[in-house]
């Protein structure tokens, strides 16, 4: 909604038509003879060698999975093998021109993409560069394991063994794998060659690779990004969201710097099947996949269909597309036709296709046709290729033997090191900035009007005994803004985006006025595409930057489910700690807006291993936690309640400090001392709990010990246990629907940790297990002060003279449970 762009009714309503450029389909028609001008004979033969290595690698896996033996080596493994036998020429052709500065991301079927990119890099890098990379990776441990395969003088040969062995032992879940076996077949990668994670979620790399391209674009990094996927992924919303994100007009129309298109190639290895469904003709409507670029951008994504069974056709297309990308005109889409002979997985019965179809493709298998074309053109004698195949097989046998040998390739020993996975769940580092260059800003921080306004506010709600007016009071929103300003001026890689973040200042004004401080490339409006917002942040962070993104309402977490629950949370551990994930995801818990805009979904996020979860309820907590989150290296889901953006600091002595400080994520905020009952709160429920606390004290002579849980994961229970041991009684209050809420989890832990000290069961007071009714009926749905008193009276200790208002007897509780409400 920038004012600079005029939405002209005359132009908008004017008649006309949309025209399209032709989309090329398999236009490559050169012969090997012609191509010998472009390629040396060695290059042409090496292309064949690479195809053969890929074919042998997956044929080996196929034999191991189906027969438990490869070339006399008896071995097997229980993990997945999504093979791409048949697709090798397309992979080799794609990788041929790419180097280590180009990032590639993949899918669940990416062995060939990984290996071909590695082989291409090995060819391009000097021996010294290769040795440095191998020595530097995991402290040289992978190289040491490779050296056990036998002495070899040729560094390139050593590097080939290194990459094959590292990949295979990763697939075999061995500690010598590139990620200590913690990623496996569907998550193997090797960053030093620009080989980024492949992904077990179909289309999962769509937004992540787009975020990597955003990182390259904003931070001026060399190289382009290739997002590889299969044609099945073209049906997935997040992939469309990502492609639209990459094609946003604002890169040209609004950005002051880093103008131009995103350096990303969406390459689809189109084998006609999404597992068993046939995309063209059955589940999709595009007829030809290359068409879809035209649905997103006037550039039509420079899409074309190319013949992936001819490696030279793929190289030809890549050369042209790289030129477009390097000129800042991306994104680009390639519909790379190929075919897989192997099943989706080794349990595939091929019920969805005929033998005739497979045989017809086998007849044009590049391993036969490309070899023949080289022989026919006189590039090499046929015997040369027999030699290559023999050499490939010999090497692969050696690799397989070593990767299966528990002496050379041991499993991670969980008994000897029970913390092996635990250690990588969080990186727990503090990083001031991810790059040393000056942050790109529009004016000095001290001159930014909105920032100055925040600084002038009163940090205490009461000054000289007088309450400060709402407008002059430093509130929770200001606390968040202040930290974000500070961090934007420190970490040049930090970018913030989300729905309506820039001109609007965020729906709840946390970014108000911040557009004066930083250019578009550091604060911009994202499309209403939650999957893309979170997914790109994941890609941005794992490429080396820091991202602060916002989903406006916590209820939209569902729209970014895969990106939050599978991607943001898991890559640190799946990479055995090699990748970092400095993403802070702000989500706002609504009120007044009914059933789909008022939900506290902290429990969903807290359930997922690998996410840190915060929910500050006071300005002091908000500032300290945001400071921690924006300096850390872990993914944080940062909940904020719309009910309390305006509150001043009522609990912390002296109000919110003007200076910088951090609150350790995991701490608990003790807001009141008492001896009779412990009240634990999460989020805005703190303030209703404090009303109950007042009544307890004034009418019933009970003093409550109140602790606000501002960090849900991790959570140090020390203060909680201490309080419950003291009082023996505990009520847990939050606005989340009570069933399966985070407070239920806390109650469970308290029961286990403090059982003998409990004078009554821990009682969770949460919202009803209903839809949120309209705001007018809030008091029937969300916990109120009286509910807390009811809970104490009915379940913990009867209060003298108290009349239950909204109670829940055992019979009623059982009825509700039985009805599921």
């Amino acid at each position: 909604m920038p004012k600079s762009l005029f939405v002209d009714p005359a132009e908008t309503r004017a008649p006309g038509k949309i025209t399209f450029e032709d989309i090329p389909v398999n236009v490559y028609n050169k012969t090997v003879k012609e191509e010998r001008k472009r390629f040396s004979d060695d290059d042409l033969v090496r292309i064949y060698r690479d195809i053969a290595i890929l074919r042998e690698f997956e044929s080996m896996l196929n034999l191991i999975k189906t027969q438990g033996v490869y070339n006399g080596i008896e071995t097997t493994y229980p993990g997945p093998a999504h093979l791409s036998i048949g697709q090798e020429a397309a992979a080799v052709g794609q990788a041929y021109l790419l180097d280590k500065n180009d990032f590639s991301f993949g899918s669940h079927r990416s062995h060939s993409e990984i290996l071909s990119k590695a082989l291409s890099c090995i060819q391009k890098l000097s021996e010294k560069e290769l040795m440095d990379i191998m020595e530097g990776f995991l402290g040289g441990s992978a190289l040491r394991a490779t050296e056990k395969l036998g002495k070899v003088d040729d560094v390139k040969e050593l590097a080939i063994r290194f990459i094959l062995y590292g990949t295979l032992s990763e697939i075999f879940a061995r500690s010598t794998g590139f990620h200590k076996g913690m990623g496996g077949s569907m998550h193997a990668f090797f960053l030093p060659f620009g080989i980024y994670p492949n992904n077990a979620i179909v289309g999962g790399s769509g937004a992540i690779s787009t975020g990597a391209a955003l990182f390259k674009k904003i931070n001026g990094k060399q190289g382009i990004v290739v997002c590889n996927s299969g044609d099945g992924s073209m049906a997935r919303g997040p992939v469309w969201e990502a492609m639209n994100f990459a094609a946003m007009d604002q890169f040209e129309t609004l950005w002051e710097s880093h103008k131009g298109g995103m350096p990303i190639l969406y390459n689809v290895f189109n084998n006609s099947y999404g597992m068993g469904d046939q995309t063209r003709g059955e589940t999709m409507g595009y007829d030809m996949l290359a068409r879809i670029g035209s649905g997103i951008s006037p550039t039509q994504f420079y899409a074309e269909r190319i013949d992936g069974f001819n490696p030279l056709a793929v190289i030809d297309a890549m050369e042209r597309k790289l030129e477009i990308l390097r000129a800042g005109k991306g994104p680009v889409l390639l519909d790379t036709i190929t075919y897989r002979y192997s099943g989706h997985s080794t349990s595939d019965q091929n019920a969805y296709r005929t033998k005739e179809e497979i045989d017809a493709w086998r007849e044009v298998d590049p391993i036969i046709t490309y070899r023949k074309s080289l022989v026919d053109a006189g590039v090499a004698a046929d015997g040369k290729f027999e030699d290559i195949l023999a050499e490939v097989k010999e090497r692969m046998t050696m690799i397989c033997k070593a990767a299966s040998d528990p002496q050379i390739s041991p499993y991670v020993d969980f008994k000897a090191d029970p913390y092996v996975v635990e250690r990588t769940m969080f990186s727990n580092e503090k990083v001031e900035k991810f790059d040393d260059r000056e942050p790109e800003v529009s004016m000095p921080k001290e001159e930014v009007p909105a920032y100055k306004k925040i600084k002038e506010k009163s940090r205490c709600p009461i000054v000289d005994g007088q309450p400060v007016s709402k407008m002059k009071l430093f509130n929770l929103r200001d606390a968040l803004s202040e930290v974000i300003y500070d961090r934007l001026y420190e970490d040049p890689t930090l970018i913030a985006y989300g729905e309506d973040c820039r001109d609007w200042g965020g729906a709840f004004a946390v970014y108000r006025g911040m557009m004066d401080a930083v250019p578009h490339c550091r604060l911009f409006n994202a499309p209403i595409a939650e999957a893309a917002i979170v997914g790109t942040a994941v890609g941005y962070a794992l490429s080396g930057g820091r991202a602060l993104v916002e989903l406006m309402y916590a209820d939209f977490i569902g729209c970014a489910g895969d990106e939050i629950f599978n991607q943001m949370s898991k890559w640190q551990a799946m990479s055995a700690g090699i990748l970092k994930m400095p993403v802070v995801l702000r989500v706002s818990v609504g009120s007044k807006y009914g059933a789909q805009h008022s939900q506290d979904w902290t429990a969903l996020c807290a359930h997922i291993p690998g996410l840190k979860v915060c929910f500050p309820a006071t300005p002091w907590e908000a500032k300290g936690l945001m400071e921690s989150a924006l300096k850390g290296t872990d993914p944080v889901v940062f909940f904020e309640s719309q009910r309390i953006y305006d509150v001043g600091e009522q609990f912390h002595e002296g109000g919110v400090p003007a200076e910088r400080y951090e609150i350790e994520i995991g701490d608990v905020n003790k807001v009141r001392d008492g001896k009779d009952v412990t009240i634990l709160t999460v989020g805005a429920a703190l303030y209703r709990a404090m009303d109950a606390v007042k009544e307890l004290s004034e009418k019933y002579g009970m003093e409550a010990d109140v602790l606000n849980i501002h960090s849900l994961v991790p959570l140090d229970y020390t203060k909680i246990v201490e309080s419950v041991r003291k009082t023996g009684r505990v009520v847990l209050v939050s606005d989340a629907c009570a069933r399966g809420s985070f407070m239920s989890e806390v109650a469970k832990n308290i029961t286990e940790l403090c059982f003998d000290d409990l004078d009554a069961p821990p009682v969770v007071v949460g919202a009803r297990n209903w839809i949120t009714p309209p705001f007018e009926f809030d008091k029937y749905f969300f916990p109120q002060a009286s509910w807390i008193l009811d809970a104490i009276h009915e379940k913990i200790v009867p209060l003298k003279g108290y009349t239950v208002e909204n109670g829940c007897t055992e019979t009623e509780q059982l009825r509700r449970l039985q009805k599921g409400v």
Binding site: G728, A760, T803
Partner: protein, 418 residues
């Protein structure tokens, strides 16, 4: 109206006491402060003073009965007062009656809490916290009047029971014990005597000591000329100084010597660790009519010889009179047992667990030795027997302790000056 006198609680860990002998009988006039009966814990014996005034109407427990702390023992009031409600048996019955009548539907709100609440199931629930408190306080949580939700006995109910004890369900069990005892008495010819609590404690502790520790004893002697001469001087002096004994002198020397041997001034914790004390807390074995008792002189290393002497006398008196605070009967880091006055020349003291050492002090016997001028002289040789736990300390350091202790005693007046 009749009022009850309860079995007092003689220490935080004491759960029940045994009645020694009743000093009063039913019908006697009682004033507040009159001694009603004696009772003993596993460590000491006490006298129970009346908290009520009037006629002793009924005695609920007899000599030798074990009574839970804070439970009614007898009733005092005006002749003719009904004291049935105070009887522990009656209380147990009432409790049951209440449980039966509790099947009525639950009242929606407990309007006048903390009124008694009732459970729907008829079972009496006790909160874990209330149960733990009751265990620690030595009361039966089931005796409490429930005021928690749904008839649950909660912490405040147990506290109420501790402050205002009423009746116990345990009395029935006691009367059964009583009849069993009567049967045994009919046998005659010999007498089976049940150990007193103190005897039981000694038995348990001494057996545990020998069964679980690696104990051995070293014996040595030292020339007691100097301390005997010093003691003679003290005896001739005026006032408290004249009461200082040889035993006190040894205690003083021990308190000043132990610092160099931390492993002997210690307690074993489990099998694999040891608690080293910063001060010397000396246990002193005292013979009492009820058996061996070992009160503690805390921080003996900071006391003068006279202070130690006075402390020993006071503690021994309290032990013999049976009114020692149970807290003074534990916490020692090392023990001294003096059998010298009983003519013992050498013996094997048994360690008081979890301490790591005990010193036996023996009588002095005349011995001859070669004097500096080559002639033969007679001197009083006093025996010291050190038993130590070989798990905590080895033979050489233990021997060095004995040697240093002997040397300190031989130059005692110099030691006093240090």
């Amino acid at each position: 109206m009749a009022k009850a006198v309860i079995m007092p609680k003689a220490g935080i860990t004491v759960e029940s006491c045994i009645i020694g002998t009743w000093e009063k009988k039913v019908g006697d006039q009682i004033k507040i402060g009159d001694i009603l009966f004696t009772y003993e814990t596993d460590k000491a014996s006490f006298e129970c003073e009346s908290t009520e005034e009037g006629t002793l109407l009924e005695i609920f427990y007899k000599d030798g009965d074990e009574v839970p702390c804070l439970v009614n023992v007898c009733a005092v009031g005006n002749p003719g007062d009904d004291c049935s409600a105070l009887r522990p048996e009656t209380a147990a019955k009432e409790e049951k009656a209440e449980e039966k009548s509790a099947e009525a539907p639950k009242v929606e709100t407990a309007a006048a809490a903390p009124e008694t609440t009732k459970s729907e199931s008829g079972k009496t629930a006790v909160s874990p916290r209330a149960r733990k408190l009751a265990e620690r306080a030595g009361v039966d949580a089931a005796d409490a009047v429930p005021t928690g939700p749904n008839g649950r006995i909660i912490e405040r109910d147990v506290r109420e029971l501790m402050n205002n004890p009423h009746v116990s369900a345990k009395a029935e069990a006691s009367s059964v014990k009583e009849s069993a005892k009567a049967e045994i008495a009919a046998e005659a010819e010999y007498e089976d005597v049940k150990f007193s609590n103190i005897r039981r404690a000694i038995s348990k502790s001494m057996h545990a000591s020998l069964a679980t520790m690696a104990q051995l004893t070293h014996n040595s002697t030292f020339d007691a000329s100097e301390i005997l001469a010093y003691r003679k001087k003290l005896k001739a002096s005026e006032g408290a100084l004249s009461g200082i004994t040889l035993g006190d002198i040894v205690l003083y020397a021990v308190s000043r010597t132990l610092h160099n041997y931390p492993d002997l001034n210690a307690n074993m914790i489990g099998e694999d660790s040891i608690r080293l004390f910063k001060h010397v807390n000396l246990g002193v074995a005292v013979d009492t009519p009820r058996g061996l008792m070992v009160p503690t002189i805390f921080h003996a290393d900071e006391m003068s010889l006279l202070e130690i002497s006075l402390a020993v006398k006071e503690l021994a008196k309290e032990c013999r009179e049976g009114n020692i605070n149970p807290d003074k009967l534990s916490g020692a880091s090392f023990t001294v047992s003096n059998l010298g006055s009983l003519g013992i020349e050498t013996f094997t003291p048994v360690i008081n667990p979890p301490q790591t050492g005990i010193l036996g002090v023996c009588r002095a016997v005349d011995r001859v030795k070669k004097l500096d001028d080559g002639s033969i002289g007679i001197y009083p040789a006093m025996g010291l027997s050190l038993t130590y736990d070989h798990r905590a300390i080895d033979g050489s350091p233990a021997s060095r302790f004995l040697k240093e202790l002997g040397e300190n005693l031989e130059r005692f007046t110099t030691l006093l000056a240090e």
